[in-house]
Symmetry: C2
Subunit: 391 residues, 2 copies
C-alpha cells in the first residue's frame, strides 16, 4: 500500500425531505448571500427550486439565481456566474442539480476569488481558495457532491478538462433519493454507468496489496449490480435509489482510491466523445469501458480475473485466467446493455472518420505529449485502436 492523505470533510444530510434543511445548512457553513445555480426546467417543474428558496428565506438568507447549466457544462455560463457573484457580493454557491450543475458551481466558486481567468485551474493550476459550495443533488452519477473535482468544457476548441482542489469540495451536500425518482430511465442508467466507471477507474491500479480498498470498491460494485436493475424496473423504488445515491458518493469521494495508483484512461477517452458528440457522459463510458479493458487485459490478467470472480460471480478458470478476465468484461458490458446503455459508437451517431480528430485532441490537446497515462500508458496508436474497437 502506498502512503496517502485522506480528507473528506463534507457534511451529508441524507434522506426524505432533506432539501428543507438547505437554509439552515448554508447558515451553518457561513453563507449570507447565496447564488442558487441550476440547470433546466426539471428543478423548477418539480417544485424543488421553490422549496430550496423557501428554506433559504426561512433562514433569513438573501439570494440571487442563475439557471441554464447544460450537461457537459460550458465555460460561458461560468464566466456569467463569476460576474454575477462579484456584482451581487455573493458569499456562498448553492448548486441545485446534478454533476454538471455542481461542477459549474465549483468553477464559479473558484473563479470569483481569483484575479485571472478561471480556466487556468482547468489547465493545471491548483485551486487554493474558493467561495464555499453546497449542493442539493438531483441525480446519482458524477459524485461531485462529495469530491474535490470539477469538469468543464471550454467552448473554444471544445476542450473538456478537469480541475481539483480541497477548496471546492462541498461544505455540505443534501442527498434526497426521492428527488431522483422522476429521472428518465436513460439518465438513471447513465448515472449508474458513471458510478461503475468511478469504481473501475480506481480498481485498475498498479499498486499491490491494497486489499481494504479493493474490497470496498467491490462492495460498491456489488451494490450497483444489485440495485441498478431494480431501479430501472421500478423507478419509484426509494430504497434502491437510496443505495445507489450513497454508493455514488462513496465511489468518488476517494475512499475507494486511497493507497494506490488509479487509472482514468476510460474517462479521458470518453471525455472527447461527450465533448464532440454531446452524448451523456455515462453513455460514452458504457461504450468506452469494455473496449479499454479488453485492450488492456494482458497488462494484469489477474486483476481483471479478480473483479470477474468477486464481483461478477464468474467461476475462476484456473487453467486459463484470461478467459475469466474477459468473462468479467463481457459481464460488465451485458450489465450496461441490460440497463439501456449503448454499447457501440454507432449508437451515438459517431463517425469512424472522426477518430483522428478524437485522438489528436485526446493525446495532444491541453499540454499532452502524444499519450495518456493510467493503468496502462496509451499512445496515439493505442487510442486509435481503442476507438476503432468501439464501432
Amino acid at each position: 500500500m502506498e502512503n496517502f492523505s485522506f480528507y473528506a470533510p463534507t457534511y451529508f444530510q441524507f434522506g426524505k425531505d432533506a432539501e428543507y434543511q438547505a437554509g439552515d445548512l448554508v447558515k451553518k457553513f457561513g453563507g449570507t448571500k447565496v447564488l442558487i445555480h441550476y440547470g433546466g426546467g426539471s428543478v423548477i417543474r418539480s417544485g424543488l427550486l421553490d422549496r430550496v428558496k423557501d428554506s433559504l428565506k426561512s433562514a433569513g438568507l438573501d439570494y440571487v439565481e442563475l439557471g441554464g447549466v447544460k450537461p457537459n457544462p460550458r465555460s460561458g455560463l461560468v464566466y456569467e456566474g463569476i460576474d454575477l457573484c462579484k456584482k451581487e457580493n455573493v458569499d456562498f454557491i448553492l448548486a441545485v442539480g446534478g454533476g454538471s450543475t455542481i461542477d459549474s458551481s465549483k468553477a464559479i466558486a473558484a473563479g470569483v476569488v481569483y484575479d485571472g481567468d478561471f480556466w487556468d485551474f482547468y489547465c493545471g493550476k491548483p485551486i487554493e481558495k474558493a467561495l464555499p459550495v453546497g449542493t442539493v443533488l438531483t441525480i446519482a452519477a458524477a459524485g461531485s457532491e462529495g469530491s474535490p473535482d470539477s469538469v468543464i468544457t471550454k467552448e473554444e476548441g471544445m476542450f473538456k478538462r478537469g480541475a481539483s482542489g480541497s477548496a471546492i469540495r462541498p461544505k455540505f451536500s443534501i442527498l434526497n433519493p426521492a428527488l431522483t425518482q422522476t429521472l428518465p430511465s436513460y439518465q438513471t442508467a447513465a448515472g449508474i454507468t458513471d458510478i461503475m466507471a468511478h469504481l473501475y477507474e480506481r480498481y485498475l491500479t498498479n499498486s499491490k496489496e491494497v486489499e481494504a480498498t479493493d474490497r470496498v470498491i467491490e462492495a460498491l460494485m456489488l451494490t450497483m449490480i444489485h440495485e441498478g436493475p431494480r431501479v430501472i424496473a421500478d423507478p419509484d423504488n426509494y430504497d434502491a435509489r437510496a443505495n445507489i445515491m450513497w454508493a455514488g458518493m462513496l465511489a468518488h469521494n476517494n475512499c475507494c482510491g486511497v493507497g494506490r495508483s488509479q487509472d482514468w484512461n476510460s474517462h479521458n477517452i470518453e471525455h472527447e466523445l461527450s465533448a464532440l458528440y454531446d452524448c451523456a457522459h455515462g453513455a460514452g463510458l458504457a461504450i468506452t469501458m469494455p473496449a479499454v479493458f479488453t485492450y488492456c487485459v494482458d497488462h494484469d490478467v489477474m486483476r481483471f480475473a479478480q473483479v470477474a470472480v468477486r464481483v461478477w460471480g464468474c467461476q475462476m478458470d484456473f487453467a486459463n485466467p484470461k478467459a475469466t478476465a474477459l468473462q468479467g468484461i463481457t459481464a460488465l458490458k451485458n450489465f450496461l446493455s441490460s440497463i439501456g446503455m449503448p454499447v457501440s459508437l454507432k449508437d451515438i451517431n459517431a463517425k469512424e472518420e472522426d477518430i483522428p480528430k478524437l485522438v489528436e485532441i485526446l493525446c495532444r490537446g491541453n499540454g499532452r505529449n502524444g499519450s495518456i497515462s493510467g493503468f496502462v500508458t496509451l499512445n496515439e496508436d493505442d487510442c486509435t485502436n481503442i476507438y476503432k474497437m468501439m464501432f
Copy 2:
C-alpha cells in the same frame, strides 16, 4: 434505508514516517501549546515520543506532557490532565498511543472547556465543545482515531461508560502502520477482534434495504479475515498491517453505520468484563460475540445466514438457513481462536459467581432500567444466560 447525517472531517495522514508531520498538522489545525498524552513505556522505548516531540519543536510549538494512560483508561488521569491543561494554557491535545490514550485525550479535551465534572458527558450530557484533538496511532483496534466517541472507566464503582460528540472527533490522525509492527501478537489479535466487533455491531441491524452499508461492512470483514492471520504469522508484514489499520478506522468512523439501526449489545456486555477483570477489550469481545450472536440468532436468521455466506464463505443451506447462520457464528469463533483470542470466560479467570454482579451493573447501572437495547432487547435473565454461555 433510514434518513441520516454523516460528517467525518478528520484529516488522515497515512503511511511510513507519517509521524514526522505531527508538528505541521498541529499548526495547520490551530494548536500553539500542546499536551502530549500517552501511555506506558513502549512509545518511549520505540523512540516515537521523541520523534513527535522533535516534530513539534521543528514546527515551533511549545508542549507539556502527561503519560500513564492504562488500558481501560480511568477518570483519575483525566482529572489530572484537565488540571494540567488549565494551568499550562494548553490549546491542543495530541494523543500518542492507542484507543485508550485517544479516549483519555478526548475526555480531557472536553473537560478543559467545561465548568462542571467531565463525567457528566459519560452520563449522557452531549459534548458540544472541546479543545482540538490530534492523534498518532500505535495500534489498530478501537477506531477512536476517526470517531466522535470515547470510553472511560470511573474508578468509584468501576463504571465503564461512553460519551460522544462531533467536538471530540480528531482534527487529524497520523496512521503509520509500521508503528504497530512491534506490538505483542496478543494485542494485535485483540485489536483485530475489536475491529471485527465494530463491524458486527453495525451489521446487526433491524433496518431493511441498506445494501450499500451491508456490502461495505462485509468488505472490511473480508479484509480482516484475509489480513488478520497474515499479520499474526508475520508481524513485520507492513502491507497487512496497513490494510488492518485503515480498515480499523473505516470500521468505526460510522461510514459502516449509516442509514440503519445498530446493535452494540456485545460491547455493552463486554464492558462489564473488562471493567471487572481488566482484560483486553478485544479479548472480552472474542468471548462475548459468539455467545450473544448464538443467543440472538432466531431474531433474524437470514441476517446471520447472509454474513455466513457472503463473508465466511459458507454454503447456503436453503432447507435450513439457521444451520448456515450458526455455521457463520462458529466460523467467527474459530477465526478469533485461530489468532490467539480466548473463547471462554474461564480463560480470563472470570468466576460464575460474579454473574449476578455483572448483570446488576450492566442492566441497572448508570440509569438503565433492567435491560439493554440493540439488535435485540435483552433483560436481566437474557444477560444472565449469555454470561453463562460464555463459560
